[in-house]
């Protein structure tokens, strides 16, 4: 994440943060469409309270938190369906090699808590403490999720190296 300082103007905040937040959520949810929906909903909620949120040090953090809460609620409600469906989703952008597909599949197969921690840590660049706050979990739990996720994902990185060799 390039900057932790959010703009105070709603349109600027929207323009600066919609794509980054939605992109991270797309990795978590496995769907760009779902990610767009929850991000739009989060910004809609922010707009209704913008007078207050704009005074925060980091208005985008409020939006990100709401978007992640919405996404987590959605994924909990349909966790098994999503997990199953991911295997049937076609690749919508041509070009990934088999190792990248394997990594995406491995990411999709992670338990939701681990996948959420991975995306927030590696893609959003948030510290463990902030991830714990968003996930309403202890920092130790977040570190455990990251540890287990690393083990699961590392195998696919190893394959990637072997394939390239």
């Amino acid at each position: 994440m390039a900057s932790r300082e959010g703009p105070s103007d709603f349109a600027e905040c929207y323009a600066a943060w919609f794509a980054p937040i939605a992109g991270q959520l797309a990795v978590y949810l496995g769907s760009a469409e779902e990610a767009q929906e929850v991000t739009q909903e989060a910004f809609t909620r922010a707009w209704a309270r913008w007078g207050r949120i704009a005074r925060y040090d980091e208005p985008a953090a409020w939006v990100r938190r709401v978007a992640w809460n919405l996404a987590t609620s959605r994924i909990r409600r349909a966790r098994t369906a999503l997990r199953h469906w991911r295997g049937q989703r076609p690749e919508s952008v041509a070009g990934p090699g088999p190792e990248r597909v394997a990594l995406e599949r491995a990411l999709a197969a992670l338990p939701a808590d681990q996948r959420r921690a991975v995306v927030l840590y590696y893609l959003a660049g948030l510290p463990v403490a902030e991830i714990a706050e968003i996930c309403r979990a202890r920092e130790g739990a977040v570190r455990t999720w990251l540890y287990r996720a690393r083990i699961a994902l590392a195998r696919h990185l190893t394959d990637e190296v072997n394939d390239d060799a």
């Binding site: 760009a32 469409e33 909903e41 199953h84 295997g87 540890y147």
Partner: protein, 195 residues
């Protein structure tokens, strides 16, 4: 717990960064101008009581730009045929399944639909993950959802059908793929909607 391997961390960050970049390429930004109308609808209560309905109504305001990027398909033709799927929780009753089927049967956008048993669903799951025995072994049949497949001559109609199905029963979740995606193994139980 051992300390994280910094080299592994860097490689994961780079590899996942590419995954994130690819996901971000598929994101279409509706624009800040779409937010106030959605917020007004939300405040007026037109969007319904559930978070899902709120999201659906907010998304409806995206207009034509969103229709062009259905299902993450950036350049999908508006009327490409597609296969939709409605999932219900494993514990859903036959009555709930029939209610969703009835809605599909009355939907003019739907050419046909079929009900898939949990066992058929499990067979499909095992086939799709045949190269990942660890995932198959960790997934028991009793965690899989019940589901219905439906055929859409025009993929652009999926949001309308989904908006009709998801409020029909608790936990209904819809998704959709282009028809050129092979669907195996073939289902064995079929139903034809009444017209």
């Amino acid at each position: 717990m051992p300390e994280p391997d910094e080299h592994l961390d860097e490689r994961l960050r780079a590899a996942l960064g590419e995954v994130g970049d690819r996901a971000r390429e598929r994101i279409r930004v509706p624009g800040a101008g779409t937010v106030p109308p959605a917020a007004r609808r939300r405040r007026a209560g037109l969007a319904g009581g559930t978070a899902l309905a709120l999201i659906a109504v907010g998304a409806a305001g995206w207009g034509v730009a969103r229709e062009a990027v259905l299902f993450g398909q950036a350049a999908a033709p508006r009327c490409a045929p597609a296969e939709g799927r409605a999932f219900l929780p494993h514990a859903a009753t036959d009555e709930q399944l029939a209610r969703v089927g009835s809605i599909l049967g009355r939907s003019p956008e739907v050419a046909s639909y079929r009900i898939e048993t949990v066992e058929e669903n499990y067979d499909r799951f095992k086939w799709e993950y045949r190269d990942h025995p660890d995932i198959v072994n960790a997934t028991k049949v009793d965690v899989l959802p019940r589901s219905l497949w439906f055929s859409l001559p025009c993929a652009g109609d999926f949001p309308a059908v989904r908006a009709r199905l998801e409020p029909a029963s608790d936990g209904v979740w819809c998704s959709c793929v282009p028809r050129d995606k092979p669907v195996l193994p073939p289902p064995t139980r079929t139903a034809t909607p009444s017209r």
